[in-house]
């Protein structure tokens, strides 16, 4: 279980994360969503101890997480938004370095590396240096690196950014498998459908503050499960209805420029953030 307790992070006069409190339960697939600059990456960086909070604290299974907390950090593995790897190492070396940092036996590192590379279709490139890999391959390598150490808690900051649609679907399946092994996953993503497909609960944050926290279906229900899109002088405007018959009544009055559809998590997002997230 991870608890964020009144977590605040300031950079000079700018508050990136503002009094954020939430709990992620063991085995949960949890989404952290918000527009650019909402504070998602800063939050992940604080959980991974790269950044220290200005105030508040993070607890893992009840113990405070800081840079000295080796036993708590052993439970964590992170896939950062940037390719945080030595660019001059080969893929094999990146994996061995990770395994050694987590005190894994060399034999186990090599066996698991082989399995993960086969799974990720990277086996043919293992002697290639990171700087000579494509963006998608680097992303896959980071995922293999994170999974090598079999973490109890996996932090994913935009893990499928830059991946093609097929690779992204493969990644979803992999993450479902990982979560199925009772591992906790915290995911930040710009792909709203990704969060909707994968996450049991999502937190919507904006300007560093928690706006909403619930299951995707509950958030959609709260806004209204039915949406009517209307194109007018102000562009596309959506209205939300809890009841289908209300939506149909509105639609019949609205004329030809309106259409009915089911509300999505992206709608919740847009309403919450006040602008479209892409």
């Amino acid at each position: 279980m991870i608890e964020l307790d009144h977590l605040t992070k300031r950079f000079g006069g700018f508050t990136a994360v503002d009094d954020l409190s939430l709990t992620v339960n063991t085995g949960e697939f949890f989404g952290l969503l918000g527009p650019n600059g909402a504070g998602k990456t800063t939050t992940i960086s604080m959980i991974s101890t790269v950044l220290l909070p200005t105030s508040g604290e993070i607890r893992v299974d009840g113990a405070v997480l800081d840079r000295k907390a080796s036993s708590e950090k052993r439970k964590l593995s992170v896939i950062t938004q940037e390719y945080s790897m030595r660019q001059d190492m080969t893929m094999d070396e990146v994996m061995e370095y990770q395994g050694r940092l987590y005190k894994m036996p060399i034999k186990t590192i090599r066996e698991k590396t082989g399995e993960l590379f086969d799974f990720a279709d990277l086996g043919d490139y293992r002697r290639r240096t990171v700087r000579h890999l494509s963006g998608g391959m680097k992303r896959k390598l980071m995922i293999c690196r994170a999974l090598l150490v079999e973490p109890e808690i996996l932090l994913l900051d935009e893990p499928t950014a830059g991946m093609d649609a097929l690779s992204r679907r493969q990644m979803w399946n992999l993450l479902r498998q990982v979560n199925g092994q009772k591992r906790t996953i915290i995911l930040t993503t710009h792909y709203i459908e990704e969060a909707e497909a994968l996450c049991g609960r999502v937190a919507l944050i904006n300007k560093g503050r928690l706006q909403k926290l619930d299951t995707p279906s509950a958030l959609i229900e709260e806004l209204g499960s039915f949406a009517v899109d209307e194109t007018g002088e102000k562009g596309l405007v959506s209205r939300y209805f809890k009841d289908r018959s209300e939506a149909i009544d509105y639609l019949s009055d609205a004329g030809d420029n309106a259409s009915l559809r089911m509300t999505t998590l992206e709608d919740v997002f847009v309403e919450c953030a006040g602008r479209k997230i892409t």
Partner: protein, 243 residues
């Protein structure tokens, strides 16, 4: 053990860049030896100047070898590659990471000094280099590795590393007992220069080379530098809010 992991990482780096590292370690010291020691043939205290120069050049090489191995690499890893994040989130105790960097940097310095010693072997000088010399050079490398680590944590851009070399390493190379004795400096300046780590290392290496005891003062100075900068860099990695 985290120290072994860092030494393994340094070994991977060394193995891959062996030729580049070796050539880089040789060029400047070799130029100094050729120009000042062989080209401009002078004497110092009745001895060939080369006898004075070689201990200084070897000491200087361990300094530049250790400093550049850490300063450039850590700045790039922290600010550009973000590879330090991988270490920060791992369970490896961060003091072990720092200790590994210091030892790894020092070994690189020792390698650079060793290359220069090998190059000067054909020159018959009767200078003595023994196990104590190796220990002093290793200690010197540790001092400059910790200074490089501290500066790397202060760097705001990975282009700061060459600036640190220009501001710190280049002046020390020329002023700290390498090419001429710090005793010839004006009063006041001389005392400051003599307290710098390279001055003490060069002085001790030169004493041993001339079969004289190096004295304990130099060791104390080097150990103080090592302790201070090791503590600062360890405090940075544990306490710095935005690493």
């Amino acid at each position: 053990m985290g120290i072994i992991t860092v030494l393994w990482e340094k070994w991977v780096e060394f193995r891959r860049d062996f030729y580049k590292i070796t050539v880089a370690a040789m060029i400047s010291p070799l130029m100094y030896l050729i120009i000042f020691g062989m080209g401009i043939q002078t004497t110092s205290h009745g001895e060939p100047y080369l006898h004075f120069l070689i201990p200084g050049i070897v000491s200087m090489s361990t300094m530049t070898g250790s400093f550049s191995a850490i300063a450039q690499n850590m700045s790039v890893q922290r600010l550009y590659e973000k590879a330090l994040d991988q270490v920060m989130v791992s369970p490896t105790p961060l003091w072990q990471y720092i200790a590994g960097q210091i030892l790894g940097g020092s070994l690189r310095g020792l390698y650079a000094g060793g290359v220069i010693l090998l190059l000067t072997l054909p020159i018959r000088t009767d200078l003595v280099f023994n196990a104590l010399s190796v220990l002093i050079l290793f200690l010197n490398g540790m001092v400059f590795s910790t200074i490089a680590l501290t500066l790397s944590f202060l760097a705001k851009s990975y282009t700061d590393a060459p600036r640190y070399t220009a501001y710190i390493i280049t002046p020390m190379s020329f002023l700290c007992n390498t090419f001429f004795s710090a005793d010839q400096m004006p009063n006041g300046f001389r005392q400051v220069i003599s307290l710098l780590p390279l001055s003490q290392t060069s002085s001790m290496i030169r004493s041993i080379a001339n079969e004289e005891p190096p004295g304990a003062f130099g060791f104390i100075v080097l150990l103080i530098y090592l302790a201070v900068f090791a503590l600062i860099s360890t405090a940075f990695i544990y306490k710095k809010k935005n690493l």
